[in-house]
């Protein structure tokens, strides 16, 4: 029944061309010799060299990486706790408020999240810098982690935990030895999501960074507002490349694992 009609083929071709052409053009022109980005003047990798020699970009990248690692790790811990509370804790006073606070940041415009956190940091006299960005990123990305992990927890078979208790585990051991290993894929994808959200964020970082810290998106922002630049093209290409390699290899690994599991299950049924 599933077949590729001319309509489907056209829709898919045009659709994916639309999604990918801008990025492909960006990548091609990052190897452009000329400073004038829209005029092709021959192949060159000089903008990559210039990028790697640019102290400001490198230090911004370092700040971004630090923020992303700390905030995504913290967000994963807090978000997993949040998911456990959502799915497991049952009724407690203020449960509705809690689930509201988990879901609200997902749809909250970034400008509002950024503004409100900045006003808080100023209000309590906290010096702004890497630390405040980490706090801000942790707060909004923990909610994404919560949603990812809780959707896995909902389908988790509670009798596995009961079996662990029955076999002599304390509740903590049951969580560590049974629940955590089984929900680990969801926790890892939660971490990856939090990490990417942090790497990607411009608006909230701009509000909460203060003068002392600049993240890579903030640096890119201040540069692209003035127009297209070949250095940014090179930087974009690097970032797209890293993401593409990461996502493609992750999906290949999961696909192979799924295929192997399927084959083994088939073999088990026949045995």
């Amino acid at each position: 029944m599933r077949r590729l009609t001319w309509f489907n083929t056209t829709a898919l071709t045009l659709g994916f061309a639309f999604l990918y052409l801008p990025m492909i053009i960006l990548i091609i022109y990052s190897f452009n010799e000329s400073k004038l980005v829209t005029v092709w003047a021959g192949f060159s990798t000089k903008w990559y060299g210039e990028l790697l020699g640019n102290e400001a970009f490198l230090s911004a990248a370092w700040v971004t990486l630090k923020v992303a690692v700390f905030s995504s790790t913290l967000a994963t811990i807090l978000g997993t706790l949040g998911a456990l509370v959502l799915v497991r804790a049952g009724r407690f006073p203020g449960r509705t408020l809690f689930s509201g606070m988990i879901y609200a940041p997902l749809v909250m415009p970034e400008v509002i999240t950024g503004l409100s956190l900045l006003l808080l940091f100023i209000g309590i006299g906290l010096d702004r810098g890497v630390f405040t960005i980490v706090l801000a990123h942790t707060t909004f990305s923990m909610c994404f982690v919560s949603v990812v992990v809780s959707s896995r927890l909902v389908s988790f078979d509670r009798s596995l935990e009961e079996a662990a208790l029955d076999l002599g585990c304390s509740p903590m051991e049951a969580f560590r030895l049974v629940t955590l290993p089984i929900i680990a894929p969801a926790v890892i994808s939660g971490w990856l999501l939090a990490f990417t959200l942090s790497l990607d964020d411009l608006v909230i970082a701009s509000f909460t960074a203060g003068p002392s810290a600049t993240t890579l998106p903030m640096k890119i922002w201040s540069s692209v507002r003035l127009g297209v630049s070949p250095e940014i093209n090179a930087l974009s290409t690097l970032m797209i490349g890293i993401v593409a390699i990461g996502v493609i290899s992750a999906s290949l690994i999961t696909k192979r694992a799924a295929l192997r599991q399927e084959a083994e299950e088939r073999a088990a049924v026949q045995a």
Partner: protein, 296 residues
């Protein structure tokens, strides 16, 4: 005991870093602008004891909200944001539905790859994806070069720094949000339903209108909200691709805060934006819940 600890940690984190900041925004939106640090009055002063708190309450008022209604910049910005969000959502649906439809009807072994291709842009920088259109849409950009090279136009088209560029940017960056829910609705659609419709005398096209579209309704609604809600408060796209005439409330808020340093007005702008957003968010939640109930 352990359960209480489990609840308290994330609960307090969110209270301190989500709810309290928002209450501060609410409070500052009721304050007055001042040339001071921080640049608003009143500030809560506990040194005067009870009287201080009373004075503080007495000094709060709705002046900033009145100001928003008198200066037509703001309500025009809200209206224009709504207009841009509605049109952009509709355009994203027009572009996204055929892609989702094509994916759902692609051969089984293609679908994981197509799925990955739709998700891949999610993981790449939003800022870079918006930026990639600057080179394409500018007066001497690749699109104008192509069209002039083909002889379609003789004068370069002005697209960058107009609302058209903003629409293109929104459709481009939010397209996956539209495709994925529609695709998951279409994928679950039982192919025999279409065969049944054709068997009962529908043409291909009427079967599509009478069976496929109604059954993908939930996906369409979810996709539209997922595009509409973040678009309304969008800042990066109108700032990079839009022109000085492009009015969007996210941009106004940013400028009010960073350029004019008018914190109370910026806060009032934020409060109103949230009030506008509450309606679509509640509708979206309803739709999701209805679907969960239908599934479960």
């Amino acid at each position: 005991m352990r359960r209480a600890a489990l609840i308290i940690i994330p609960y307090f984190w969110l209270l301190a870093l989500f709810l309290v900041p928002f209450l501060i925004v609410l409070k500052i939106s009721l304050s007055d602008t001042a040339l001071a640090i921080p640049p608003y009055t009143p500030t809560l002063d506990f040194s005067n004891g009870w009287q201080g708190i009373k004075d503080f309450w007495a000094a709060l008022d709705l002046e900033n909200f009145e100001f928003l209604t008198t200066d037509d910049l703001y309500w025009k910005a809200y209206l224009s944001s709504l207009k841009i969000a509605v049109i952009a959502t509709f355009l994203t649906l027009l572009v996204g539905y055929p892609i989702a439809y094509g994916m759902a009807n692609a051969p089984d072994h293609w679908r994981p790859t197509l799925m990955m291709l739709v998700i891949l842009p999610f993981w790449t920088s939003f800022l870079i994806r918006v930026y990639s259109w600057m080179g394409i849409l500018s007066n001497e950009g690749y699109l104008n070069q192509l069209l002039m090279g083909m002889g379609v136009i003789s004068e370069p088209l002005t697209i960058l720094n107009t609302n058209t560029a903003v629409y293109i940017g929104i459709v481009y960056t939010y397209l996956p949000f539209m495709i994925l829910p529609i695709y998951s609705a279409l994928e679950r659609l039982d192919a025999s339903l279409l065969e049944a419709a054709e068997d009962l005398g529908c043409s291909r096209l009427t079967a599509f209108w009478l069976v496929t579209v109604p059954l993908s309704k939930n996906g369409i609604i979810a996709g539209c909200f997922l595009v509409f809600i973040p678009t309304l408060g969008e800042f990066v796209i109108p700032s990079l691709l839009g022109g000085s005439k492009t009015l969007m409330i996210g941009k106004v808020l940013w400028e009010e805060f960073f350029n004019n340093r008018d914190w109370p007005v910026a806060s009032a702008v934020a409060v109103i934006l949230l009030l506008i957003l509450i309606i679509p968010i509640i509708l979206f939640q309803r739709n999701e819940q209805k679907q969960r109930e239908a599934d479960g």
